[in-house]
């Protein structure tokens, strides 16, 4: 066992000493690595940590060998003779039209996060949806997907989804439920719906809006409330302060030369983030094609993806962020300057000057986790920078009745407490879990006469309601939704709903008196009503076109003119805030399971969260300095207590959190709602209050006994002490584009490395598949990891196995830090298989299970592999994954959801990235059938297709016109561990920083 880690105070000091003793830019992966803590070294010594516990203690070596010998003998016997099992061919009785067995079909629809649509295309094989891709025509996708979009297909097949109508714990039927509602209707008709309340998540659906309007017309006393735990109230309140009305902002990041990102979610989760990421990254790569690179400043209290892309990153406490915005606004004369500059950090003036110099090409973006006043200040600054119309646009809010979700929810809870709510419909939301603890939603729910929950899972809210109706998945029902820019998508079901599952529209139809509501009729009826307005004669073709394309043409919102209120600058005052001794708690949605809705999704639970690389958990995350102030270290358990609740949480020390702040991601800690998510992490909602949704103080922190193991992917696959990530400054690049290659040559000379090989060089005359990954573009979102998981049938292994380093992701996103541990810069580096031309793994395989093909790919032949793991030992990049157990057999996912084009690997087999060989082969067969070469762009790897920033480019490097050849021709292109002469096919483009000379450090 490894010794208990020392208090990080000592480690931190050691770490600073070690960093101080180095020259130049040094990259480090984790605090433990750089401090060389004893626990870390102990970890490194053990080749397979935790293996001892994995072996059955009742099985000694002798007995084990006996059993194995017998098994081999019988296996040998079974090997002779024909396959004993009879296989059957089961034809269809009547062939459905358009399905050719084995040929995939694609259907457009959308996936949603907090009501906002992301256009997707669902791939079907033999009638079964198996993979999600982005819809290139859809403005919010542009062909890319978010991790949630990728994982949505697993949600569709989740066996834990609720299947029956349940009344007070016992099973019931839809008929009984609907007759009850139809009975209630008579009363609502009499009293105008007094006491009828609806609670949903954020809605953008036009059909739902029409249904709500109809409901209000019939029952004028009925009320509708919306609640999402990660709602965008603050942005709307900010717009109310600045413009006197709610507004949405659309960013045109391709036009922005200077960006100030204030804990910005523009690249991670804000509506439209995939599109923003695409445009953002294009400007980050601009220097390579001779265009102008953008400059990004980030100020934040908790790490964001935008912050890790910044040229200048400033870590500030929440109240300092607001003060800094005041200072910048003051310096820009956007508001009467009352000496704010003096209270702000010195660099604020330089940032303001840079913004000012790029008037008309600059913008400030404030993330949804920031308070309303920060949003209002951003509007003010943007206005003075002439950003509206240039780098951003205003539109009317896309979300229905956007504004004050918290206020509406508070109204609802007080009405419930007052006994004024007779019937409450909770449609597709989980308020018992997500409502701030001080509102006491669960208690209030007991005073409601009839409570109905429509949800995909039998979750916390379902258990607290009298009725539970299973909800359709977004791929199971007709619906519609709008994207960030108002573009509407008609969602078409990908499979037929089973188990009396109903959609929101159908429940609404029931409320409106339809005896057998049908979502198709409701949605189609709405659009027919829309289309029959003058000019839209042929509805059938409009409908077909819209459903097929996955969007309604011309439905995006028109920009509106908005001017800031005249006295705004004078009205804004910095809030008074006293810094207390107790830590400030920051509440942020979990990067994978969001507000808890994806908690039962194994892919998302096992996705290493950006920055922390944490899987299967959330943690109380704090900076090294804060941790040492409280005497805490990784995996310590702390007790957080306020006057109402107490919770226990593991500590995770992470550079890049503001001083004296503790970041609590909410969404984990589910108590109901599926076998995967229950019992993972802790419930941070217990401390969330309605007056402190994103941050609060008044929480006492105390270390308690115990250890909470955290399944971090951080230390696995170390690549210590070598130039793995390369960076440079834009200035040096512009002076000498070849600066990086010169550096490399120097290193080689210094290490005495020569480019020579004992192996004869092989020519690859056909296709030479290769990949180029731009570190300038990778934002670390993790969409590629999940796309790979979905495409290549990667198994989910669970927390225990991740702790042992047995995770199966073929593609990992490594995280590197540089600079001081108090406010470091972050870099992300996706690492798939390098497909070395001289592959070290191949020469050590005793059974030739990993070999090259004629296109130069390094491939696994699973049926040859005997599991010696020599290849993994000899891989310098550590990209090979081994099936230590029969992970795939244990996977609860139904068989029909696996990708039929990829072998499902069994226990004892090595596997790794194949560059999506099944896609290459499919394209090759198609091209070969037509007697032509494969065209550029015909093969896309799953990671490349999902990547929102086009950081990953794949293609034929023999084709000089291909995108990958152009990327590789860049002077920034370099190979990982070049000195090993492995000649990798995957190469990287170094990251450039566009530093402000005024702020350049010595």
């Amino acid at each position: 066992m490894s010794p208990e880690p020392k208090a990080p105070g000592a480690d931190l000091a050691a770490l600073r000493r070690r960093l101080a003793g180095t020259r130049g830019r040094v990259y480090w992966r984790s605090l433990e690595e750089v401090a060389r803590s004893p626990s870390f070294l102990a970890w490194l010594e053990g080749e397979f940590p935790g293996l001892v516990g994995a072996i059955d203690p009742g099985l000694d070596r002798r007995r084990f060998l006996q059993v194995m010998a017998a098994s081999f003998a019988f296996a040998g016997l079974a090997g002779c003779g024909p396959e004993p099992e009879t296989r059957y061919l089961v034809p269809q009785v009547e062939a459905p039209e358009g399905i050719v067995p084995g040929v995939p079909r694609h259907f457009a629809t959308a996936t949603m996060l907090d009501g906002f649509a992301e256009g997707v295309i669902v791939k079907h094989v033999d009638g079964r949806p198996i993979k999600i891709e982005g819809n290139p025509q859809h403005p919010a996708s542009l062909g890319a997907t978010s991790p949630w979009g990728q994982a949505s297909i697993l949600g569709l097949y989740d066996p834990d989804r609720s299947q029956a109508v349940i009344r007070a714990g016992g099973s019931s039927t839809w008929e009984r439920f609907s007759s009850l509602i139809l009975e209630r209707r008579e009363q609502w008709q009499r009293d105008g719906g007094k006491g009828l309340r609806l609670l949903t998540g954020t809605m953008t659906s036009p059909s739902f809006a029409a249904q709500i309007a109809e409901l209000r017309r019939r029952y004028p006393e009925a009320r509708w409330h919306q609640w999402d735990a990660a709602n965008r109230d603050a942005a709307q309140s900010g717009a109310m302060i600045a413009y006197g009305r709610p507004l949405d902002i659309l960013l045109d990041l391709d036009k922005a030369d200077v960006i100030l990102a204030v804990e910005s979610d523009m690249l991670s989760s804000a509506p439209g983030h995939l599109r923003y990421a695409r445009h953002f990254a294009a400007r980050r790569r601009a220097a390579e094609v001779g265009a102008r690179m953008s400059r990004v400043y980030a100020i934040e209290s908790a790490p964001t993806l935008a912050g890790s892309m910044a040229d200048h990153h400033f870590l500030l406490r929440p109240e300092e962020i607001v003060m800094t915005l005041f200072a910048i606004a003051g310096a820009l004369h956007a508001l009467p300057d009352q000496g704010y500059g003096a209270a702000a950090p010195p660099w604020a003036a330089a940032v303001a000057r840079d913004l000012q110099q790029h008037r008309g090409a600059a913008l400030v973006h404030v993330g949804g986790d920031q308070p309303a006043i920060a949003h209002a200040l951003a509007h003010l600054i943007n206005d003075s920078l002439a950003a509206p119309g240039a780098t951003l646009r205003h539109i009317d809010p896309v979300a229905l009745e956007a504004g004050d979700q918290l206020g509406a929810l508070t109204d609802l809870v007080s009405a419930m407490n007052a006994g004024a709510v007779d019937t409450l419909f909770i449609l597709g939301a989980n308020p018992v879990f997500t409502v701030p603890a001080d509102l006491g939603f669960a208690e209030a729910l007991k005073r409601v006469h009839i409570s109905v929950h429509l949800g995909e899972y039998f979750d916390e809210t379902a258990a607290a309601c009298q009725w539970h109706v299973p909800e359709t998945h977004e791929y199971e029902a007709w619906s519609d939704a709008r994207a960030f820019d108002g573009t509407a998508t008609i969602l078409q079901p990908q499979v037929r709903a089973t188990h009396s599952r109903r959609s929101v529209h159908e429940i609404m139809g029931l409320l409106l008196g339809q005896l057998s509501p049908d979502a198709y009729q409701i949605v189609r009826g709405y659009w027919q009503g829309e289309a029959e307005k003058p000019g839209e004669a042929d509805f059938a073709s409009f409908w077909t076109q819209s459903v097929r394309d996955g969007l309604v043409a011309g439905s995006s919102a028109k920009p509106v003119e908005a001017t800031t209120l005249p006295d705004l600058g004078a009205r804004l005052r910095p809030p008074l805030s006293a810094r207390s001794q107790a830590p400030t708690i920051l509440f942020r949605p979990d990067a994978a399971v969001w507000d808890g809705r994806f908690a039962n999704n194994g892919w998302l639970q096992e996705m290493p969260r950006p920055h922390t690389t944490l899987t299967w958990d959330n943690a109380a995350i704090m900076s090294p300095a804060t941790a040492s102030r409280f005497g805490l270290a990784d995996e310590n358990v702390i007790e957080l207590r306020d006057d109402q609740n107490t919770l226990h949480a593991p500590v995770l020390v992470l550079p890049g959190i503001a001083p004296d702040c503790v970041l609590l991601p909410f969404g984990e800690g589910r108590s109901k709602g599926g076998a995967v998510g229950v019992g993972v992490g802790f419930d941070a909602y217990l401390l969330r209050r309605s007056d402190g949704l994103r941050q609060r103080s008044g929480v006492s922190l105390r270390k308690i006994e115990g250890k909470w193991r955290l399944a971090l992917r951080q230390h696995h696959q170390m690549m210590a002490g070598r130039p793995i990530v390369r960076t440079g400054d834009l200035d040096s690049f512009l002076r000498d584009a070849e600066f990086l290659h010169k550096e490399e040559a120097e290193e080689r000379k210094r290490h005495g490395e020569v480019e020579a090989s004992l192996y004869p060089r092989r020519a690859y005359d056909g296709n030479a598949w290769a990949m180029a990954i731009s570190l300038d573009s990778c934002i670390g979102c993790g969409a590629c990891v999940l796309a790979c998981q979905a495409e290549n049938n990667l198994a989910v292994v669970g927390k225990e196995e991740v702790l042992r380093g047995h995770e199966m992701h073929w593609l990992r996103v490594d995280r590197y830090y540089s600079g001081s541990p108090d406010d470091p810069e972050t870099l992300f580096q996706p690492v798939p298989c390098m497909h070395c031309e001289d592959a070290p793994c191949e020469v050590v395989c005793p059974v030739q299970a990993t070999v090259h093909d004629s296109d130069g790919l390094n491939l696994m032949v699973y049926n040859r592999c005997v599991g010696t793991r020599f290849c993994s030992n000899n891989c310098p990049y550590k990209v090979r994954r081994f099936n230590f157990f029969d992970f795939t057999a244990k996977d609860p996912r139904p068989r029909e959801s696996w990708n039929p084009d990829v072998t499902v690997r069994a226990r004892g087999v090595m596997e790794k990235c194949t560059y999506c060989i099944q896609r290459i082969r499919e394209a090759k067969i198609l091209a070969d059938r037509e007697n032509r070469p494969i065209r550029e762009g015909e093969v896309k790897t799953a990671c490349q297709q999902a990547c929102p920033t086009e950081a990953i480019v794949f293609g034929d490097k023999n084709d000089e016109a291909s995108a990958v050849s152009k990327r590789k021709a860049s002077p920034l292109d370099y190979a990982l561990l070049d000195g090993l002469n492995t000649r990798p096919r995957t190469t990287y483009a170094a990251r450039l920083y566009n530093r402000n000379p005024e702020l350049a450090e010595g």
Binding site: A95, G102, D855, T903, I917, R921, D928
Partner: protein, 216 residues
């Protein structure tokens, strides 16, 4: 070695010869077992719910392979015909035949008949029909003389070595692309020589023996 006696040397020699010779003999006897039809299942007729005769439908009636196996030119799988394909004719002829009752029952009930697989490959082999058809590999080249099969049997071993024989040297197994579906085709005096067929049919010979051609 006093205890073993004078004849021990000879006994040892004879013993060794018997053991080694026996082992060698056993190996020689066992060696060809994989190629026995018992193992390869070549010519083995499986009991089927309906004794479907390819001989009658192909040679007798002259149905094209693609009438039933519709996907063979565009998909990895050739496609097994839906019951309604049978019923296109058998709703008109042999409507009361006893042997066709499983078909009629399936059509009426919606529960399909279960055919036993005759040709089957392991799950880690990704065979694609369409590319073989496109490059001039005839149906009967792999499936045997289907036009003579009153009951369907397996025509070839489908061993990997058998696949590789052709992937290493495809020419001799090719035929003109327009003859792929002709079950009676034989190499004749006017047939182009193998090397020319490789060219005419645009067979790309590099990479045909890559593992990834069939295993992914």
């Amino acid at each position: 070695m006093a205890g073993l006696g004078p004849g021990s040397n000879l006994a040892m020699k004879v013993g060794l010869i018997v053991v080694l010779g026996g082992t060698a003999l056993l190996l020689v006897l066992i060696w060809p077992i994989p190629w026995f039809d018992y193992n390869t299942q070549i010519s083995l007729v499986q009991p089927q719910p309906v004794p479907f005769s390819h001989k009658h439908h192909v040679a007798g009636l002259g149905l094209d392979c693609r009438y039933c196996h519709t996907a063979v030119e565009v998909s990895a799988s050739a496609g097994i015909p839906p019951i309604e394909t049978c019923m296109t004719c058998h709703s008109q002829i042999w409507t009361n035949a006893e042997i066709l009752s499983p078909i009629r029952k399936a059509y009426a009930s919606g529960i399909p008949v279960h055919w036993r697989r005759v040709n089957t490959l392991p799950d880690y082999v990704y065979f694609n029909h369409s590319i073989h058809i496109a490059k001039g590999v005839g149906c009967t080249t792999c499936h045997g003389p289907v036009e003579t099969m009153s009951l369907t049997w397996k025509g070839q071993s489908l061993f990997m070595s058998w696949c590789l024989d052709c992937h290493r040297n495809p020419g001799p197994k090719l035929r003109p692309v327009d003859k792929v579906f002709d079950p009676f085709w034989k190499r004749g005096p006017n047939t182009p020589p193998p090397d020319e067929l490789v060219k005419v049919n645009h067979v790309v010979t590099t990479g045909l023996t890559d593992c990834s051609t069939c295993h992914r």
